[in-house]
Amino acid sequence: MSLDAIIERHRGREGPLLPILHDVQATVGCIDTAAEAAIAAALNLSRAEVHGVVSFYHDFTATADPRPCLELCRAEACQARGVEAMVAAAEAAAGDRVRLKPVYCLGLCSVGPNARIGDTLHARLDEASLVALIGQA
């Protein structure tokens, strides 16, 4: 979907900015300065306002990263189940090919360590299964 179509789809809603940013991030992989300017013009906001929102939220990025991304939960319950000891091996397996992103809780805190790739979640990981997962990402 084009940027114009995304804006058109949401502009009639109350508080359209976040839904627009989500769709742009999902389709383009980032929200760059050109997109910020176009969204700002369409919603009658300043570009600074849109940029302020984009830069506030962890889900939005200014540049695209084409690599596959594995989100690894690093929050307390997964720490209690041993995730920190697996991080070095995960980083080595990811290298520059896979983006390893720390996240703080995926809501599976009784069966960690947990990871997410796209909308698929993986539980009860140990070092070997995590490394294998990164290899397939």
Binding site: E76, C109, L121, R124
Partner: protein, 483 residues
């Protein structure tokens, strides 16, 4: 034909439930996808005629069907983990298909809404107040009192907002409810809207929960005619913990940075787009759907202890053998929850610490495990119940590292509005690093001072409560700070 019931909750999926379901389908069974019972160590859990097996792998299918599998756990409903609970908000867990309207209606669904529609808003609010229901998002504020304020606030346009941001690590009850029993949340939202005079409602769900978002959207479509003219929509967060704070959440819904607003004005008076708004947690709103059923309020008020009435969906997480969802009246001790119900640690090692109430909750030492689950008892012990998450750690944990993590989390997630939280959290991480490399009393005093400043001068509980995990770790495990 054999009917096999397997959960489609994302936790079951993450543990391999789809492959198990496919294996049963392949040998000719009819597979029904139901919500999760919440016995997470047994997922994927398979149920045939009330009997359970778990955790099941595709290779177990043949043995289960011919009755020789060693993964049998007997009758699920009679399993001690289930039988010991008092499930009201999670009464349907494991028992119904999440998006099946017939299952919902057959298990008392819409009875609360139908009854509420025949009552005046004043009566509904009085019943919710009398039930003793308090906000389950963390602060424990009486739901009826908040609703009365919104109902009485001047303004033709009002909103009801459900806080489904569930950012606290160690918690997942909102997620299980949204995925497993979405109509209960929708029913509660419709009742709340009627009570406060709202025409539209929003459920703000964190982006980490794609399955909950999909289930809710599907459920809202299915139930649209039942709740009309009330309109309900799902909005998705964008990965900011602080957006669980209700005023930051409202800013986020308005398309702004998720910065915390100063109070007053209360959201109940000036909330979403300046209109009176009731913001409530998923569990608070879902509880209303059963509280408004005939006799529901009295039943709720009859359970619990002191001023903590009704049941609390407790989440057993981290290094615990029997982790999952345990709904029970208030009053259970940590010892009962962790040892009698949870079976101790998953690793079999001694428990060293538990964190109750998410990343802003205190670490509690096993010597204090007689503490009863009760808002006031926790507050008196410098701790908090929060959203009801209990994260267990064994003796391999380094509490100095956990204190550092608490400060670091505050630094990562700070909205930046106030200086103690924005700058102090980073200084806190540096201080803890220094203490952990060369312990000096002067630095420890400085850390305690910094925590006092955070407590006293922060606008919201992110900065204000981060001292709980830090100071409790420092107090109970001085050895982990080189002392």
């Amino acid at each position: 034909m054999t009917i096999v019931r397997i959960s489609d909750d994302v936790l079951a999926l993450a543990c391999g439930a789809d492959a198990v379901a496919a294996a049963f389908a392949e040998v000719g069974c009819t597979v029904e996808r139901v919500s999760s019972w919440g016995m997470h160590w047994l997922e994927p859990l398979v149920e045939i005629d009330g009997i359970g097996w778990g955790p099941v792998k595709p290779g177990d299918v043949a043995a289960i069907l011919c009755g020789t599998s060693d993964k049998a756990i007997g009758s699920i409903a009679d399993h001690p983990f289930i039988a010991r609970q008092k499930r009201l908000t999670f009464a349907r867990a494991g028992r119904t298909r999440p998006l099946n309207l017939d299952d919902y209606a057959a298990t008392g669904g819409w009875a609360g809404l139908n009854r509420a529609r025949a009552l005046t808003p004043v009566t509904i609010i009085a019943e919710v107040t009398q039930s003793g229901l308090r906000g389950r998002g963390g602060a424990g504020f009486p739901a009826g009192v908040k609703w009365r304020t919104v109902a009485a606030a001047p303004g033709a346009r009002k909103y009801i907002v459900c806080n489904a941001d569930e950012g606290d690590s160690g918690t997942f009850a909102d997620r299980i409810l949204m995925e497993g029993d979405p109509f209960a949340l929708i029913e509660g939202m419709a009742i709340a809207a009627h009570a406060v005079g709202a025409q539209a409602g929003t459920i703000y769900v964190r982006s980490e929960y794609p399955h909950a978002i999909a289930k809710l959207n599907a459920a809202i479509d299915l139930a649209a005619a039942i709740i009309a003219p009330f309109r309900l929509e799902v909005r998705v967060g964008a990965g900011a913990y602080v957006c669980g704070e209700e005023t930051a959440l409202l800013n986020s819904l308005e398309g702004k940075r998720g910065e915390v607003r100063t109070k007053p004005p209360l959201p109940a008076i000036e909330g979403l787009f300046g209109c009176p708004t009731a913001v409530n947690n998923v569990l608070t709103i879902a509880a209303v759907s059963h509280i408004m059923r005939p006799g529901g309020g009295d039943l709720y008020a009859s359970l619990g202890t002191g001023r903590s009435r009704g049941t609390m969906p407790i989440q057993l997480a981290g290094n615990i053998r029997h982790g999952g969802l345990f709904e029970a009246p208030f009053g259970l001790t940590l010892y009962e929850l962790i040892h009698d119900i949870g079976g101790g640690t998953a690793t079999g090692r001694p428990v060293k610490a538990v964190q109750v109430g998410g990343p802003l909750g205190a670490y509690i030492h096993p010597r204090d495990f007689a503490l009863p689950f009760d808002y006031e008892a926790y507050a008196a012990a410098d701790a908090l119940i929060g959203h009801g998450g209990i994260t267990v750690f064994d003796d391999s944990v380094d509490m100095g590292a956990m204190a550092r993590f608490a400060m670091q989390f505050c630094a990562i997630e700070s909205c930046g509005k106030c200086t103690p939280c924005r700058i102090g959290s980073t200084r806190g991480v540096e201080l803890i690093d220094r203490i952990r490399s060369t312990p000096r009393q002067a630095d420890i005093t400085l850390l305690e001072d910094l925590c006092e400043t955070l407590k006293d001068a922060s606008l919201c509980a992110l900065g204000g409560f981060t001292p709980y995990p830090v100071l409790s770790a420092l107090k109970h495990w001085p050895g982990d700070f080189g002392r």
